[in-house]
């Protein structure tokens, strides 16, 4: 394969000069250049690695005080800012409670919570196995039963 390649490729022919003459390197390097090259290259590689690492640390150093300050400002705003109607919503109340308080909170009856204005009917989700249609039919039946009772009482 290599022999075929060598046979087919054109040879550089310059009259009066052998291939060895033509291939002689005309460039020079400073004395001892190659002896010191490996440690110099390794130093460059190491310093590049250190630069990358120090850049990462600097980012943290720059960002951390900013993040801390922002968190502090947010906390002050959150605790001191007056709300529009001077009432707390359900989520805010729950968020500010300890676990013990949450346990006590869970023992309250829904009606009590509604009565103290700590929750609204929108905050209470009713879990039900009935479909919407079944609930409507049930309520219509109830209403019909009540009407029937009234009719009976009035003897209509």
């Amino acid at each position: 394969m290599e022999n075929t390649e060598q046979h087919n490729e054109p040879k550089l022919n310059i009259e009066g000069f052998s291939e060895a003459d033509l291939k002689r390197n005309p460039f020079k390097t400073p004395e001892g250049y190659f002896e010191n090259l490996t440690p110099r290259v390794m130093d460059s590689v190491r310093s590049t690695e250190e630069k990358v690492e120090s850049t990462e640390i600097n980012w943290w150093r720059v960002l951390m005080p900013g993040i801390g300050f922002s968190a502090m400002v947010f906390a002050v705003w959150f605790l001191s800012a007056p709300t529009g109607n001077n009432t707390l919503n359900f989520d805010q109340v729950v968020a500010s409670m300890s676990l013990e308080e949450l346990d006590q909170f869970a023992e309250f009856e829904t009606e009590d919570l509604l009565a103290y204005g700590l929750v609204t009917s929108d905050d209470i989700e009713i879990e039900s196995d009935f479909s919407e249609e079944e609930l409507i039919n049930y309520l219509l039946d109830e209403e019909e039963m009540e009407l029937n009772t009234i009719y009976e009482e009035l003897d209509i």
Partner: protein
């Protein structure tokens, strides 16, 4: 360096405990070959030194991603070639100057280089090579001086073997004509 030796070196590089030692070995093995490849492209020693450092830094950063589809030395040659051409592009002052016109600037460097030695014929040959278009110059250097196979040069340049053969053929004819005109 054989494929087995390359594989062993890469294996040691991927182990964090022997990473630096393995790369030190890689630099030691390939530095001279890569230096001369770069030097023939950028001509000036200090420029070649800078480009070589960048080549090894890039190689260190990317060696983990080397998929061993090609030989390690052709992969390194590819980085060195790209770094050299990028360096020349940055060096040219006028953005409208083509890469081939940069050769004229390199000719000036060649003329004034204090570290250049050799007989008139080697200098004339370098002058002749600098008159070639960039790709022909790269192909000629790798084929003639580095004695690389077309398949290996194809891995470096990303060009087909057929196109490389044509480039080399043109380069040889142009160099012969140039040198002949100088005598």
């Amino acid at each position: 360096m054989t494929d087995d030796q390359d594989k062993d070196l890469l294996k040691r590089f991927r182990d964090s405990s022997s990473r630096n030692m393995a790369f030190n070995e890689l630099v030691n093995r390939y530095q001279e070959r890569l230096y001369w490849h770069i030097r023939r492209i950028v001509i000036d020693h200090d420029d070649a030194d800078d480009v070589l450092q960048n080549t090894f830094i890039k190689a260190f950063k990317n060696l983990d991603k080397f998929r061993e589809d090609s030989q390690l030395f052709t992969w390194l040659y590819r980085i060195a070639t790209n770094e050299s051409l990028t360096f020349l592009k940055k060096k040219k002052k006028n953005v409208f100057v083509s890469m081939d016109e940069v050769s004229h600037q390199l000719s000036s460097t060649l003329e004034s280089a204090p570290e250049l030695s050799g007989d008139a014929i080697q200098l004339k040959l370098q002058w002749a090579i600098l008159t070639l278009p960039t790709k022909q110059r790269l192909v000629f250097n790798m084929k003639y001086f580095d004695e690389m196979k077309y398949e290996e040069i194809a891995q470096v340049t990303g060009t087909s073997v057929g196109a490389l053969k044509a480039s080399y053929h043109h380069a040889v004819k142009k160099i012969e004509a140039y040198v002949k005109s100088q005598f």
